[in-house]
Symmetry: C2
Subunit: 303 residues, 2 copies
Amino acid sequence: MIYERVALIGLGLIAGSIALAAKRRGLAEEIVGTARTAQTRETALRIGLVDQVFATPAEAVAGVDLVILCVPVGAMADVAAEIGPHLKPGCVVSDVGSVKQAVIDAVAPHLPAGTVFVPAHPLAGTEHSGPESGFATLFDNRFCILTPPEDTAPQDVARYRGFWEGMGARVEEMDAEHHDRVLAVTSHVPHLIAYTMVGVADDLRRVTNSEVIKFSAAGFRDFTRIAASDPTMWRDVFLNNEAATLEILGRFTEELFTLQRAIRKGDGDLLFDHFTRTRAIRRGILDAGQDTDAPDFGRKRND
Amino acid sequence: MIYERVALIGLGLIAGSIALAAKRRGLAEEIVGTARTAQTRETALRIGLVDQVFATPAEAVAGVDLVILCVPVGAMADVAAEIGPHLKPGCVVSDVGSVKQAVIDAVAPHLPAGTVFVPAHPLAGTEHSGPESGFATLFDNRFCILTPPEDTAPQDVARYRGFWEGMGARVEEMDAEHHDRVLAVTSHVPHLIAYTMVGVADDLRRVTNSEVIKFSAAGFRDFTRIAASDPTMWRDVFLNNEAATLEILGRFTEELFTLQRAIRKGDGDLLFDHFTRTRAIRRGILDAGQDTDAPDFGRKRND
Ligand SMILES: NC(=O)c1ccc[n+]([C@@H]2O[C@H](COP(=O)([O-])OP(=O)(O)OC[C@H]3O[C@@H](n4cnc5c(N)ncnc54)[C@H](OP(=O)(O)O)[C@@H]3O)[C@@H](O)[C@H]2O)c1
Ligand SMILES: NC(=O)c1ccc[n+]([C@@H]2O[C@H](COP(=O)([O-])OP(=O)(O)OC[C@H]3O[C@@H](n4cnc5c(N)ncnc54)[C@H](OP(=O)(O)O)[C@@H]3O)[C@@H](O)[C@H]2O)c1
């Protein structure tokens, strides 16, 4: 047991998975929670995610050692303002937001002296959301990035790190601004591009939607999975990681125009060299154990 | 048995899978083949893909009922010119090229009167290539698009359709130009975009490659899988489907700029509406049985 009593604010995919993963390994004596709607609170209680639910964040955090904010990034400020006055001294506050600097700016001002803030971002998710989508192994072997302010006591960080490691995650630390830039590359811009491409396909007159759907296995399918992620979450990510997203998008557009021009001019060598270079990255990902080398794009051979 | 003797020109992923799938179901009495290098020919013979190999396409097609060109799109014209004089009357010639109009333009002029041309494109592939990457179930439940010229005898098309259905594929027919536009949307532009994004990641100074690789599970990983596809094949696809690729790319850039502007202006409603619309397409793909609804992006829950 690492924490006595833990409160989860928001009871969706990530909170649900935290609850199940923490229970599986006995990391908390008691887990309580709250969500915006009564329906989510009732579901979370009924399926046994949490031991107790409360109608408001203020009530949920009373007497707890650890609070994790598991709401969309844009909702963090309001929640922090509401819980601030009710936190007990020594309480650790964390979050799971996909953007870190904006969340720190939104949350830190509301936390009273004597509490400890350790922002976190588990790099694990699915295209589903809501309390019933959580599962205990979501974080297994996935990275969780902590971005603690410089003055955080090392033992507080170490304890919270232990909590995530207990849930199966591989924990890394970096500063918030760097986190936001790394994630812009590995997650935010890829999502925006996938959303864009799926929107284009939906919009064409000469190719029907049913053709797009039927023939999606040729590459497009992977984009649709990414572009089916929760609209609220992703709206908030882009609004709150604007600078890094726009910077990487600028680079993307530049590179895309170079390839586009090569196609127009029939410059096969440029295309070939570019496509050869990008293969090496894939090899690195396989070597790092972040994917499998299955010859079938993840589908089972007999689907 | 649908054909007596079949020749495969090129012995890579697609040809290897055709050989294994056709043998599994007894669709051909004998399968022979050829490839550019002696090494590929020897491997194909050693692992039993084909019954016999020949040093040249001209020798391989002697006396066969069906020839399938399984070489990169850019190599089709030369191969067709070489085999033309050696085809027996009534022989069916097909190909598996990812682009159809350009292949028709390249191949048709070389085929003698009395032979039958039924171009085809199986929508199935992996990021691997070469004779050892083929597997018998690659085409199971995947689409194969035929684009026969209008004057092709219906019974010749029906027979070749039966060959693909026998290998497990769902066969569709459409005209070549429409094929190229549909595939630009569902495959060619998604590949170009993935290649672009992976190139950008490889090029950054402030985010290291090892960070990109480590944290790829957050969305980027799916792009790397697409961008690891064979450079020769994809160079040829873009050079040979220039018009449709550039048209769809134009639409993509327009839509990307709209979303980019919304991020810059903080227009959350526009982002939210767009992201909500793209979800519906995903639902259609699941309903069409072209992917699974696994909550874990295809990775096994316990990887
Ligand atoms: N999904 C991912 O892939 C992923 C990965 C890593 C990190 N994250 C981050 O994790 C956080 C939660 O994501 P999730 O996927 O778990 O979302 P989710 O399944 O949609 O759950 C969100 C929860 O937050 C509650 N909520 C929403 N708006 C609220 C508000 N304004 N005030 C109070 N509560 C509110 C919801 O309550 P109701 O159900 O009652 O509406 C729900 O319980 C986000 O910050 C996201 O950036 C997500
Ligand atoms: N991979 C996919 O996802 C996919 C899907 C649908 C359709 N296709 C199409 O299928 C075709 C073959 O792709 P693949 O994935 O099977 O490729 P692959 O595994 O790389 O095999 C290509 C074969 O073609 C031979 N070859 C290459 N260049 C040649 C040339 N100039 N002259 C004669 N032979 C040559 C190669 O011989 P060596 O080994 O001796 O060099 C090899 O046997 C392409 O037209 C592609 O567009 C591919």
